[in-house]
Amino acid sequence: MAREYIDGTEAIVRGALHAGCDFFAGYPITPSSGVLVRMMRELPKIGGMAVQGEDEIASIGMCIAASMTGRRPLTATSGPGISLYSENLGLAIMGEVPLVIINVQRLGPATGGATTGAEGDVQFVQWVTSGGLPMVVLSPTDVATSYWLTTVAFRLAEKLRIPVILNTSKDLVQTMETVDVSAWRKVEVEPRKAYAGGAPYLPYRFDELGDVPEFLPVGAEHQVRFTTSMHDEKGNLTKKPAKVDRTFRHLQQKILACQDELVLVDRDHQDGALTLVVASGVSARSARAAVDRVRSDGGKVSILTVYSVWPVPEQAIRNAAEGMSRIVVPEMNVGLYRREIERVLPGLEVIGVNRVDGEVLTPGEIIRTGRLGGAIG
């Protein structure tokens, strides 16, 4: 037992540093500025580089290029900054750039409420860029999972050579809580699969569609070509339909081929329950408290906490919903993830518990609106 009293920001920064992060660029924006401030202070200690960019576009641009020199970069922002990251997130997908992005959700749209919490970016972060290739998005529920999922984000980013978003929120990064650091989960981040052959190095070569190309940093002995445009295996522009198709399907397939690692849920099933709560983010916390209260009052209810929000862990949701007649989805938005639950579980009654006033859902209102109190069997 090693108890500390820290907030989600500190957990993210420690997770990043323990995952081998050695480059940071970001621009101040509430409520994510704490990550920038801490990284600027911490990275020089380990010989890393931290920069405050002139804006969000420059910040993510620097991270992307640093990643291609072999660094393990991190950037952090909030919704308005994600809007500015959008085009470069597409570049990172196309160029196969490992990069971890922290999105600290605040109330939107636009400037919205800088110090007001929300979970309104849930759909936005998945379809954040043009071209129709979705992002991998992880969502913590507390300080401990902020740490764990930051290390998972780095692992997936490096392994699959993709940008990964950790989608957290104001009420998670700024909330202080008791944590037992000795019980924290962490995953190992393996180095990118390196190219060991001779020249010429084909930067975008892969055998199977689901394979990840071998990496050489810009600055390696052999020439490295990086491109954000549709390319062939040499990294040269192409519009030949067969090559375009192969590159495009590869970008999608390498993520699908890693499905096992991408299903991160916590299933808490209660025998006899007919109601299932499906939740993520800070709302999952209130939902858990609601479930505990219902159970201690003799009610029956199950809960599925979703950490890997995108791609949607469809099979895990179906498994958890087996035998259930009602699904309750609490969220601090107008019902964004509920759309996915309705899609995955057609025919079931899906009830949203939603708040868009900046306040965290209380367990009481999840019980009342979700009618969990009556969920006896």
Binding site: A65, T178, Q223
Partner: protein, 445 residues
């Protein structure tokens, strides 16, 4: 080891894909000649391009190449240089990309990032059909300025000057000095840019007279000259970074402070506390002391803060839950204890005060009474929590008051928690306040 042009420009990639008469090829040839003069190994050079005609030239080079988004090449160049400071980083950008990414150009110059930016300035957007750009001359005709451009052109080298970058030169594409100037720019530490005036035969030259004499006339009219126009010797960004942050290198990372269960756990299933005060009263940091006191008392604690976008003004609240097992409720319907230390705090929780049950207790500075609440209200006399009239100590004094009247945490745990502050002077001030409050409370008991 010495290199020749073929080590950088790939003979088998020729010819260039540019329009007949376009001057881009001459600039690329000049870059090919300049690199052997600098003598840097091809695999130590990264060439960054973005969108526009000049952006498709990377395939002709044998160095590392990075092709990115329109206008953002300077950001990638900066990232490559900071990611690997041993690289020589060169950007090829058009006047279109320069305009779009002007902000990045300006700040790379200001930071004096050690990169070289070659602006291939042909006064219009070639790839998209000859629209006007930020460097299109006044009165020039383009696809979007059919009656003559009424905007005025940007002077790229002048931009470097105002941004305090180290090196800038202005040069015509056919100037025999071009390879030397490129080599000079690459060798120059810090930020370097070349404004290379070019010829777009597909669009600009069809709609406007462009000849050597016309370009020279342009220079005279705008009171500009060719050759090196900016030269400074400020330290480059990489050296500045290393120098100014050397003191941090090798220091241990900030890990958290372990808080052992030093005090007996108070006996209750749960206590929730809402502190409502004003920004600048140290609500958040005082709540952290209270939270640490909880952890030191073998409790799980959460602390959710709220404040407006303003700093040092407006409300500041901290909502806390203390219990023996992990807490999931960051917010409760009705806090057990409310502590009000300012008007702003009182007003922002007005609705919640009305909804409290009679079992809740509200401790409030007496000047803030009366309160509209069914809860029990316990006034705190101003004198009781006045610590040398310090506004920053009032919340801590009130928290000590509350601790003495409730079971949430003990005064001893609070004092121990205050000791953990990273900054010694702040810890000392807080400890003095707590000592003073303890002695006052002991007298009134």
């Amino acid at each position: 080891m010495s290199y020749d042009v073929n080590d950088y420009l790939l003979a088998d990639s020729m010819p260039y894909p540019f329009c007949p008469g376009c001057s881009h090829g001459q600039v690329l040839d000049a870059l090919g000649k300049a690199l052997p003069m600098v003598g840097v190994a091809p695999n130590r050079v990264a060439l960054v391009t973005d969108i526009g005609c000049i952006g498709i030239s990377d395939k002709h080079f044998g160095m590392h190449t990075f092709h990115g988004l329109h206008g953002r090449s300077v950001t990638y160049a900066s990232g490559l240089k900071l990611g690997n400071p041993d690289l020589t980083v060169i950007v090829l950008v058009g006047d279109g990309g320069l305009g779009l990414g002007g902000h990045h150009f300006l700040h790379a110059a200001r930071r004096n990032v050690d990169i070289t930016v070659l602006v291939c300035n042909n006064f219009n957007f070639g790839m998209t059909g000859g629209q006007h750009s930020v460097t299109t001359p006044h009165q020039a005709v383009t696809a979007t300025t059919t009656e003559g451009n009424f905007e005025y052109p940007l002077d790229i080298a002048g931009l470097v000057d105002v941004a305090q970058g180290n090196f800038a030169a202005r040069v015509m594409f056919h100037d025999p000095r071009l390879p030397d100037l490129i080599a000079e720019a690459i060798r120059s530490p810090g930020f370097a840019a070349l404004d290379i005036w070019e010829m777009c035969t597909a669009y600009f030259a069809k709609r406007n007279k462009v000849s050597r004499s016309v370009l020279e006339e342009q220079l005279r009219e705008r009171n500009l000259s060719t050759g090196i126009v900016v030269r400074r010797d400020r330290k480059g960004y990489v050296e500045q970074y290393r120098h100014s942050l050397e003191a941090l290198q090798g220091k241990p990372l900030s890990e958290g402070t372990e808080l052992a269960a030093e005090f007996p756990r108070p006996v209750y299933p749960r206590q929730s506390v809402l502190i409502a005060g004003r920004a600048g009263q140290k609500v958040r940091s005082t709540a952290m002391i209270l939270g640490r006191a909880g952890v030191l008392s073998d409790l799980y604690v959460t602390q959710r803060d709220d404040y407006p976008v303003t700093v040092m003004t407006g409300h500041s609240t901290a909502e806390m839950v203390f219990q023996p097992d992990p807490v999931n409720e960051l917010t409760v319907d009705a806090p057990d204890i409310v502590l009000i230390t300012s008007e702003e705090g009182r007003d922002v929780i007005r609705e919640r005060l009305r909804g409290l049950p009679p079992t809740s207790v509200v401790y409030a500075l007496e000047e803030l009474l009366p309160l509209d609440t069914p809860a029990r209200v316990e006034p705190i006399a101003a004198d009781a929590v006045n610590i040398q009239k310090k506004k920053t100590q009032i919340v801590l004094a009130c928290v000590a008051w509350m601790a003495a009247k409730t079971q949430v945490v003990s005064l001893e745990a609070l004092r121990r928690a205050a000791w953990f502050d990273e900054r010694q002077s702040i810890a000392d001030e807080n400890l003095a306040t707590l000592a003073e409050m303890e002695s006052r409370l002991a007298r009134t008991r």
